[in-house]
Amino acid sequence: MRIRINPIECQAHGICAEMLPEWIDVDEWGYPILDGEELPAQLVAHAKRAAKACPTLAVILSGR
């Protein structure tokens, strides 16, 4: 599964980084930094929860 951030929608709530710390860090302004676009299979369930929890729906998951 691929993960991207829609940077226009993202408002640095930081919830994705809290729910998926294995893959998402934040910069000094609170915006997410991903480890990459191809998500390891064991993180897919966490990523789905993080995407759902994002208040601006800025976490974009695609593929399987």
Binding site: I5, P7, I8, E9, C10, A12, D27, W29, Y31, I33
Partner: protein, 422 residues
């Protein structure tokens, strides 16, 4: 701007340009009437020509057209002549002097992709607007063309921003996908081509792909409009074969070896290169990429010897930071932070304990925006810090070089001008 130059190089787009605008009668006397070739044959010619887009990215022009054409249905053509790059003058010059080549190219592109409407987008307040209006009044276009004046922000001429603005929004880049070729103006597949690209299409439709390939670099054939800026002479436009050594172009523009230590290639998303390296490099995307630079839209700026490259880089960094679209956090926070640090390096208010922070911002800001603004800005700044490493060391040690007191050099809009997006 001295817009016509006598040249040893074969001129194509500018071959009929003497002084002033080429009127329709002169244009047709030189090039003949608009060819009646069908869209499929035209597309085959453009693809066989190897023409690369002239807006900066250098993507194959025919492949982009094919992508729009294959969708079928009604499509839209956008001719992008907005030229947001302050150091570039070639699109304005082309539109002012040879507008019918561009208008021909729009009609041919519309035929290729099946477009029923077209837009020609220029920079608000550009002096090309009048020339284009007069040219449009001279001809009957099968596909109607609307002339639109885009706001003047730096990233406003990025293709998704142009499309968003034509759809009634701010001229700010949008998150992709969908890209304009998938869903563009009025939701239709939209071909966005630079005006110079379209002018080349108009010549290929007359003379064919073999003629087009007969000059220039084998892999990136044809001629290219470049804008050369040197001490006292901003924005000279010349038409040169691709692959011409940059040193030859600078010499033709009146720049002697020793006049300059560093050349900015590709504009403000481009890179500084040491003058001796730049002089040897052929003007092509592949050669410049291999040297860590980029051709961009053909901008060459020779920094006069004795100027402070760090200070010039800092000035442009401040401009690029002010012209971020205010949409994406890493860019809207990161670029001002970087620009602020560079500013302090020049004013002597620098504390070298800040250096790791600057390095970190330079590494985390690129690649995280909806458009390439942060990537291009950071690449430009990084190249300045590298090429002017000796000056940088002095600035970091609290000894800004003497050049900081010199008048500003790189062309920028007035410091008071704020970007506008509507």
């Amino acid at each position: 701007m001295s817009s016509t130059t006598t040249s040893k190089w074969e001129r194509r787009l500018l071959s009929g340009v003497q002084n002033g605008r080429v009127a329709l009668a002169e244009h047709e006397a030189q090039w003949g009437p608009l060819p009646t070739t069908g869209g499929a044959d035209l597309l085959a010619q453009v693809q066989a020509s190897g023409l690369l887009g002239r807006g900066g990215a250098g993507f194959p022009a025919g492949r982009k057209m094919l992508t729009v054409a294959v969708g079928g249905g009604k499509t839209v053509v956008v001719a992008n002549g907005a030229e947001g790059e302050p150091a570039s003058a070639k699109d304005r010059m082309l539109l002012t002097r040879a507008p019918h080549l561009v208008l021909d190219g729009i009609q041919l592109a519309a035929r290729i992709v099946g477009a029923t409407e077209a837009y020609l987008v220029v920079h608000a307040g550009s002096r090309s607007t009048d020339a284009v209006y007069v040219a449009m009044s001279e001809r009957r276009n099968r596909v109607p063309v609307q002339l639109r004046e885009l706001p003047t922000a730096y990233v406003a001429s990025e293709e998704s921003a142009v499309v968003h603005w034509l759809n009634g929004g701010d001229a700010k880049p949008t998150f992709t996908p969908p890209r304009p070729f998938e869903r563009g103006v009025h939701g239709r597949p939209t071909l966005v081509h630079n005006v110079e690209t379209l002018a080349h299409v108009a010549t290929i439709a007359r003379h064919g792909s073999d003629w087009f390939r007969a000059t220039g670099d084998a892999d990136e054939p044809g001629t290219l409009l470049v804008t050369v800026t040197c001490d006292g002479v901003p924005g000279q436009v010349a038409e040169v074969p691709t692959g011409t050594p940059i040193g030859d172009i600078l010499t033709r523009a009146g720049i002697e070896p020793g006049d300059t230590d560093a050349v900015l290639v590709g504009g403000y998303f481009g890179t500084w290169l040491p003058a001796d390296l730049a002089a040897q490099l052929p003007l092509s995307h592949h050669a410049l990429r291999a040297a860590g630079g980029g051709l961009g839209a053909g901008v060459l700026v020779a920094l006069p010897a004795g100027r402070c490259g760090i200070r010039e880089t800092a000035r442009v960094a401040a401009y690029l930071a002010a012209h971020n679209a205010g949409q994406c956090g890493p860019c809207l926070n990161g670029l001002p932070a970087i620009a602020g640090a560079l500013q302090r390096l020049c004013t002597g208010e620098w504390d070298d304990r800040w250096w790791p922070a600057l390095e970190r911002w330079m590494s985390v800001v690129p690649g995280r925006g909806a458009c390439r603004h942060p990537d291009g800005a950071v690449r430009f700044i990084a190249s300045g810090l590298s090429v002017f490493a000796a000056d940088l060391a002095a600035h970091r040690a609290g000894r800004p070089c003497a050049g900081v007191t010199q008048p500003a050099f790189l062309p920028l809009p007035a410091a008071t001008s704020r970007p506008s997006w509507r």
